[in-house]
């Protein structure tokens, strides 16, 4: 997994609450058996107009937000389906950091599995940034994982919380499965103990 340390870049605004993973990537793009190439499906229905052409008003179709690595959005981002295709599609588009006042649990978790940083900031800070993004072309933010801060162009810093274990894994780009497998003997000992307590959980279901 690619480590995440610090990121400075353009910010793309999605000014909506409760953006669900069905909107981030609709069902027809879930038929893939790969993790890559999902950018084509990102916000597919919102990108288009009724006649099927690209909607020039949608933020992803505006030249000024092209190449942005930071997505700024509103409360409860990523709710609904557990599909990891949602962070895969965002990553494929180039987003490595998503800033919102709050996230849905499964989506938040899925981001860390892919070297992406979801940042939960105070709603007022997000609102102020949203106004700036929309009014100031070329607006950039700096997201620093080590100090857990987001810095605006005028130097205002906002602090964000992150679980220390997740922070460490992301910062160093660690393989989560490899980490767990270091405890193989602990897992085996648990299984032996548990099998004595609850043998019905260890009957072969095949």
């Amino acid at each position: 997994m690619q480590p995440f340390t610090s990121l400075t870049g353009l910010v793309a605004p999605l000014d909506r609450v409760n953006v669900d993973t069905d909107q981030i990537i609709p069902k027809q793009f879930l038929k893939t058996i790969k993790r890559t190439g999902l950018r084509e499906g990102l916000f597919y229905d919102w990108r288009k107009q009724k006649d099927g052409s690209q909607d020039p008003a949608f933020f992803l179709n505006q030249p000024r937000f092209q190449g942005a690595p930071i997505l700024l959005t509103r409360d409860n981002f990523g709710c609904g389906s557990s599909r990891e295709h949602a962070p895969w599609a965002l990553l494929d588009q180039g987003f490595r950091c998503i800033i919102a006042p709050s996230f849905a649990d499964i989506f938040y978790n899925n981001c860390f599995q892919n070297g992406m940083l979801p940042v939960a900031l105070k709603a007022d800070d997000v609102l102020a940034m949203m106004n700036d993004v929309l009014t100031k072309p070329g607006y950039q933010l700096t997201v620093d994982l080590e100090s857990q801060t987001v810095t605006t162009p005028d130097g205002t810093r906002s602090y964000f919380e992150i679980d220390p274990f997740r922070k460490d894994c992301l910062y160093r780009g660690l393989d989560a499965i490899g980490l767990t497998l270091q405890y193989e003997t602990t897992i085996a000992a648990y299984e032996t103990r548990r099998k004595a307590e609850a043998p019905w959980l260890f009957t072969d279901l095949r």
Partner: protein
Amino acid sequence: MAAQTLFDKIWETHLVRAEPDGTTLLYIDRQLVHEVTSPQAFEGLKLSGRRPRRPDATLAVPDHNVPTTDRTLGITDLLSAKQIQTLEENCRNFGITLFGMNDIRQGVVHVIGPEQGFTLPGTTIVCGDSHTSTHGAFGALAFGIGTSEVEHVLATQCLVQKRPKTMEIRVDGVLPSLCSAKDVILAIIGKIGTAGGTGYVIEYTGSAIRALSMEGRMTLCNMSIEAGARAGMVAPDEKTIAYIKGRPLAPKGELFEQAVRAWQQLTTDANASYDATVALKAEDIAPQVSWGTSPGMVIGVDGKVPDPRTMTDENTRKATEQALAYMGLTANMPITEITIDKVFIGSCTNARIEDLRLAASLAKGKHVAKTVHAMVVPGSGLVKQQAEQEGLDRLFKEAGFEWREAGCSMCLAMNADVLQPGERCASTSNRNFEGRQGAGGRTHLVSPAMAVAAAVEGHFVDIRNWA
């Protein structure tokens, strides 16, 4: 020992190791696998040369992509076919049990787990699917995960977790006639919002919850995710034990007796406390209809479409305006005046035998309105078989409903069952997001009883005064 909640008890018995900062390695007893969220997990195993730790505790089934029409014809959608074929190959290569598309035991993953006795009290159960919360109905800790975590559980039988908070949702009293578990959970989401449960595991308690059947409790726990919760659960009781007994994968004989003794301990201690508590009175719960594009946008059938002009919170007002524009509804319109084009009875929320029995009994002797197309999709091959043995299929067909093969179908429209742009559907499924049932389609979430009444009348009606 300190007083514990049901959640605490399950959490404690599944700790493999815990760091001082609370990072926990949690043991996962069972994993369910379907075709959409697993191919990349199996690919990851292959690339890293890893094998599943407990293929004996893993069960796979295709459900999202399967056609609900005659399956002997195969799948015409090549991508869907490829995904199902990939699941078959992965299960063969990794020694995992698969209920294939033409197996009578095939069905929606959250219907077949309980049906087979795979779902047991006190267990930890995961699946790459957010509606895994369904299995909490048995007093299990069951939650949805992403594909990377599917791979993690396959390789290690564990997940790295932080302890979630606990919320009690207490529903006391007696539900009005023909109001169901679906109305209870929709009313709860309407009350606490789609992020109200974020960070929590919900335990549903109270006399109205105890009175629900196992299938009702599954409907309830199923939509916990729509309230933002990681999981929902109901403590096991005599109904739970009676439901499990004799199921194909349930423990047998002395092992069953031993399990039952353990399951009887799975209750929240009298003086245990939750991090949050919410209470509802069952008598206040009217049949619910969602009017917007988020499950929290829901109201009693005797209500009206909300008016964004009366809303003070800007986020709520804007979201309401967007929802009404998408749904093609006007503020203050009575819910009963909303006319529909389609009816879908199915999904992991409401496609079990009791749902179909109730729906068929209400459809009996009536007919679907000329302007409506209605379909019934059983939750599994075995539910379908049972329904046919009871003659429910005949009642549905005589009333003008289509009777289909089992699968997820129009809940998420990954197969051929799709709404056309602008079509309006009364659906017993769980999500009314934009485009969920087809691009431009408009979904109203309701109970099976409400769906039947809407199919017959062509618009929503108050089921309490109908039939």
